[in-house]
């Protein structure tokens, strides 16, 4: 028996059953009760589940025995089921299944119907996994004498389980099935076996209905799938930079890799936007009007590559190079419309892509993430399995050690932080925040004055002198310089502030950098919108040029940055000041630079449709530069931040404020500003958007297109529509927000419940374990008259010989009783420890329960409302139990809640039993009963009076408990007498 019970203790299935099953039926309400009142109450809550469940069952099951047995039956469920049909998936949550009359097959069916109403694959995987775990767990603890039996049962069970699995798999579609099989945690052989079984099952089912056609289609789909796999794997091998990415990930870990992933993502983004712009705007123009109309006196001088002015001014690089004509040929191509819609749709697509990737990444990485589980995370999931480099591994180990040590000491430090220290920290933060915000504002202001200075000499001349052209480089140079230098200051500030967590430190850095870049960009945009737009005749091209210069200079400074930032500090760190050490790759700063570059490209998309081409080139080169710089100069990051969360933050930043900012800038340009008169596709219009109006007017003449006009008039141009739309969206958002709040509460409740159930379980397991330890070599006897008890580990002993095991249990019971009483501030009188008992667990529980009732009675006299409430509950529980008892005893159904009455009854019972001629071993029990009664009589007159207020004496209560125990015992002896 021990082996079984061992199996049960370490049986994760038991574990699973309590924590994971959602559809547990009856005991739920009791378990949700939070155990605020402590240990004793917990036990009561446990036990209170007993009668209710059994009540459920009683209708169906002929218990025909003592109710204590039914309790025991409940406790013994895991064991009992393991021995007959172990680990059937359904036993875990349903007490009803302890009726073993149900044939195993139907049990399985039931379980599937309960468990798998829909979308079974994930569930299935989990279950299969749980099962394999269980299967494995059986063996190491197995006692050799029982192995044969267990093995047999396990084999049976496995077969059943497998058949179940196959059935489920058959029900799935082909694609789902493949995925489901892939997800199974089994070896290749087992998977093959399962798959062949599934296929066999399928064919046996279908062979009669389908013929050659089915075969053919099956074959075709199979070959298609194979082809798809091959393509996919081929694509993976051909993927851009795959090897390099692996190398980087292997040496520097995931967090640095995330920079390169982001870079690649941006590159793809730009390739897409280039294709869109080039395909819909540039190619049609080139096809119909291939020669750019460059004035004769303008030639290519070389400086254009930096400035973007001069020769480029007249090419298709900028807005000014596009015509406003409807291009002829067999198909009319309206250039104005194409330009407008391409840019608009591109921006919308960008927004949608960003929102989706941001939302999914938020969902995956942020909402589910829990900041509290830091240590566990560090230890168990921070190891980067992608790292393959020996040096990196060493470094990582060191870092992890340092981090753990730090966090341990941090915890110790945090408590000692005094008020003055806090104030000091706060002052430091405030000072540095003011300083960095001031720096950002100052940068913005200086850019503004620089722009004004530039505006003074800049003329609308068609061709500048070389010097004038070179002068235009001043602004982008200063801007890029600021972008390079000021963040270094910020990093420096960060060293002086002592943030409590690394996460806060990074956030502070990021926010400051964003502030800086946003203020610079805002000033520039303001300047373009308000000054440039009014001064120059072809102002869009001028803005395009300015953006071009910014992009190019940003690129140059990025290269310089990696040279100075990484190469130089590497040299300094290794040669001059070894104290500084080899630099790390600063992911946050680098990613912010990328985001800034991308923002420039977005703003420029209207003014210079081919800017994405420059961006592609830039990102491509940058990848290699950064890679080389990383490999040569940097060491792996000392702290392993949570890369996935940082990535989410970066995508969110890219969306807001950067993308939203550039979108609003472009939208403002299109809706509010007057396009230049002399150049560009929109010349002669009031604003860019009016091109749609013109088009609609044209459409009005064509029959059959009235609905477009109607939509334009009544939807696009009507305020009421937008008003309604925003109202509806706000309402929907509100509803979703409420739902989210509800879910959050639900999560909290469910988590609480998991904890509660865990407490329940560990409590019960403790009990069982104690019991087991104390019964190491006891022969067990199978009881025949009750089916379920025969599987119980806690068997009745022959002849009621009192042994050490029972003593232990009695002691336990006494301890608990004492605890209870101490908690209630009443003096406890120890129960004599020489009570011999055979069903010790039940007795212990009973005793405690009694003590509880007793306590409740005592407290009736006190005026405390709380204790009254407690007592009321106890009473209710007691009542329940008493009812239950009465049926079991099949004699004078006592419906009183008073424990005293119970005790009396018990005594009577004991006396009756004692009167019978039982084996001599009973005599000791009888002695005890008598003793208990005597004590009760001596010490406690009042208990005989049914009024519960009259028995405040703890001694009396303990006597009563003894009586109860004795009764129990006598009963057991009596049973054994048969």
């Amino acid at each position: 028996m021990t082996s079984y019970s061992n199996g049960a203790f370490f049986n994760p299935a038991y574990h699973d059953s309590e924590t994971l099953e959602i559809d547990r039926s009856s005991s739920k309400t009791h378990h949700t009760n939070p155990y605020a009142r402590g240990d004793g109450d917990r036990a009561v809550a446990h036990y209170s589940t007993g009668p209710t469940i059994s009540d459920d069952v009683a209708g169906r099951v002929p218990w025909g025995g003592w109710q204590e047995e039914s309790w025991r039956g409940m406790e013994s469920i895991p064991m009992g089921l393991i021995s007959t049909s172990p680990e059937s998936p359904s036993w875990q949550h349903d007490v009803n299944h302890s009726t073993f009359q149900i044939p195993p097959g139907s049990q399985y069916d039931r379980s599937t119907s309960v468990r798998l109403p829909s979308a079974p694959s994930g569930n299935m995987t989990m279950r299969w996994r749980g099962m394999t775990m269980r299967r494995m767990s059986m063996f190491p603890n197995g006692n050799p004498t029982h192995i044969a039996f267990t093995e047999d049962a396990i084999r049976n069970e496995m077969e059943n389980e497998e058949q179940n699995l196959v059935k489920e798999l058959v029900a799935l579609s082909t694609q789902d099935r493949i995925w489901a099989i892939r997800d199974l945690p089994m070896s290749v052989d087992e998977k093959k076996h399962i798959r062949s079984q599934v296929l066999a099952f399928k064919t046996s089912k279908q062979s009669r209905q389908f013929t050659c056609f089915a075969d053919c289609s099956e074959n075709v789909s199979l070959s298609f799938r194979r082809c798809g796999y091959n393509l996919r794997s081929a694509r993976q091998t051909l993927e851009l930079w795959q090897g390099i990415m692996k190398e980087i990930g292997g040496t520097f870990g995931t967090s640095v890799l995330s920079y390169f992933v982001f870079l690649k993502w941006l590159l793809m983004f730009n390739i897409f936007s280039f294709l869109v712009n080039f395909g819909f705007i540039t190619i049609p123009l080139l096809v119909f009007d291939p020669s750019p109309n460059i004035p004769p006196n303008v030639s290519f001088r070389g400086l254009e590559i930096l400035t973007g002015a001069g020769y480029f001014q007249y090419t298709i690089m900028y807005y000014g190079g596009y015509s406003n004509e409807t291009l002829g040929g067999p198909v009319k191509y309206n250039m104005q419309l194409a330009y407008f819609f391409t840019i608009a749709i591109y921006m919308v697509l960008c927004g949608i892509a960003l929102i989706f990737s941001m939302a999914s990444s938020f969902k995956k990485n942020y909402v589910l993430a829990d900041p509290s589980s830091n240590k566990a995370w560090q230890l168990l999931s921070s190891w980067d399995f992608s790292i393959t480099n020996e040096r990196a591994v060493r470094q990582r180990k060191n870092n992890l050690r340092v981090q753990l040590k730090e966090s341990l000491s941090e915890k110790a430090q945090r408590r000692q932080l005094t008020l003055s220290e806090k104030l000091k920290h706060f002052g430091v933060y405030l000072g540095f925040w003011l300083l960095s915000t001031g720096l950002a504002v100052g940068c913005g202001a200086s850019i503004y004055y620089l722009c004004q200075y530039e505006q003074q000499w800049a003329t609308d001349a068609a061709n500048w002198s070389l010097l004038q052209e070179a002068k235009t480089l001043l602004v982008p140079f200063v801007v890029s310089l600021m972008n390079l230098v000021v963040p270094l200051f910020y990093s420096l500030f960060n060293k002086f502030e002592h943030y409590s967590s690394q996460r806060r430190q990074i956030y502070a850095l990021v926010v400051r950098n964003v502030l800086l870049k946003m203020s610079i960009l805002a000033v520039l945009c303001y300047y373009w919108m308000n000054v440039v737009a009014k001064k120059f005749s072809c102002w869009e091209s001028m803005v395009g040029q300015a953006l071009y210069r910014l992009v190019i200079f940003d690129f140059l400074f990025l290269m310089l940055g990696s040279f100075f930032g990484e190469f130089l500090s590497n040299v300094i760190g290794t040669r001059l000041l070894p104290r500084l050490g080899v630099p790390e790759f600063d992911v946050a700063r680098n990613v912010l630079e990328l985001i800034y570059a991308q923002t420039l490209a977005w703003i420029g998309i209207y003014f210079s449709p081919l800017l994405p081409a420059i961006q592609i080139f830039k990102l491509f080169i940058l990848f290699y530069i950064k890679k080389v710089s990383l490999m040569k100069n940097c060491q792996p990051p000392r702290r392993s931040g949570r890369a996935a969360q940082m990535q989410t933050i970066f995508i969110a930043l890219l969306f807001f404020p950067y993308f939203v900012g550039s979108l609003s800038m472009v939208a403002y340009t299109a809706w509010r500003l007057t396009p230049s008169e002399q150049c560009g596709p929109f010349r002669g219009l009031n604003n860019t958007f009016s091109v749609v109006g013109v088009w609609i007017d044209d459409l009005g003449g064509i029959p059959g297109s009235q609905w477009v006009v109607w939509i334009y008039q009544n939807v696009i141009r009507s305020e009421i529509f937008y008003f309604l739309i925003s109202l509806i969206i706000i309402a929907i958002i509100y509803i979703f927000w409420q739902v989210t709040q509800g879910r959050k509460q639900l999560i909290v409740l469910l988590r609480q419940q998991v904890v509660n159930e865990g407490n329940d379980k560990s409590f019960l397991l403790d009990k069982l374990q104690n019991l087991q330890k104390s019964q190491p070599d006891k022969k067990s006897k199978q009881k025949t008259q009750k089916k379920h008890t025969k599987r119980h580990l806690d068997e009745h002993s022959l002849g009621g010989q009192s042994n050490s095991n029972a003593m232990v249990q009695a002691l336990l019971a006494r301890q608990q009783l004492e605890e209870e009483e101490e908690r209630r501030d009443t003096g406890g009188v120890p129960v004599p420890s020489d009570i011999s008992t055979s069903s010790a667990l039940i007795q212990a529980m009973l005793a405690r329960q009694r003590a509880y009732d007793q306590d409740g009675d005592e407290h009736l006299s006190s005026a405390s409302a709380l204790s009254q409430a407690v007592q009321a509950r106890q009473r209710a529980e007691g009542q329940e139990r008493d009812e239950y008892y009465s049926t079991g005893f099949s004699e004078n159904p006592i419906n009183t809640s008073s424990a005293v009455a119970q005790a009396m009854q018990a005594r009577q019972r004991a006396e009756e039993d004692g009167a019978d001629d039982l084996p001599s071993s009973v005599s000791s029990v009888m002695m005890q009963v008598m003793q208990a009664r005597q004590i009760a009589e001596e010490e406690d007159g009042p208990p005989w009076v049914p009024a519960p207020t009259q028995n405040p004496s703890p001694a009396g209560s303990s006597a009563l408990i003894q009586a109860m125990l004795a009764r129990q015992q006598a009963q057991n002896e009596y049973d054994d007498g048969y």
Binding site: M133, K375, L379, K405, G758
Partner: protein, 158 residues
């Protein structure tokens, strides 16, 4: 398919004299752990022995071709996360009792930090980990606890 062939080549390269080219007759070939553990993918992994043990059929790190394929299919980027979590759990479960208990955590910690933490620190960290991740308060981490933690740690095993 391609991967399978590539992997077979890798497998065979470890011990060309042991592994036949022809696998049609299902020869019973096992590569010893010493060879498996010396692969560049595993060479520097602190858990290499555990990984080999978990995936090998005999539990001692000696691998058949099938075990080898299993290992790489789980370690590949394309493997589902649940599957990875399952095997990661087994890797961390040093004593194979289906729970990550304190001794497992201590072993993990020692492997990850090169035995340089004091006993006290190890104990504190382990207690903290169990405290944080153990949902049902049984003093050890079950697969469910582990998976629950993994869900909240999105960087896991990427």
């Amino acid at each position: 398919m391609i991967f399978k062939i590539l992997l077979f080549d890798r497998y065979r390269d470890l011990a060309p004299q042991l592994v036949p080219l022809d696998y049609t007759s299902h020869p019973d070939v096992k590569l010893p752990y010493e060879l498996i553990g010396s692969m560049p993918e595993l060479k520097d992994n602190p858990f290499r022995q555990r990984i080999a043990e978990v995936f090998s059929e005999d539990g001692e790190g000696n691998m058949t071709l099938d075990d080898f394929l299993d290992m790489f299919s789980v370690l590949s980027e394309m493997a589902p996360r649940d599957l990875k979590a399952y095997y990661a759990f087994k890797i961390y479960d040093f004593n194979n009792d289906d729970f990550i208990c304190k001794s497992d955590l201590e072993k993990t910690l020692n492997k990850l930090t090169r035995n340089e933490l004091t006993e006290d620190e190890v104990r504190m960290v382990c207690e903290k980990v169990i405290d944080e991740a153990d949902l049902d308060n049984d003093g050890r981490l079950s697969l469910e606890d582990f998976q629950h933690m993994i869900v909240r740690a999105p960087d896991f095993l990427r």
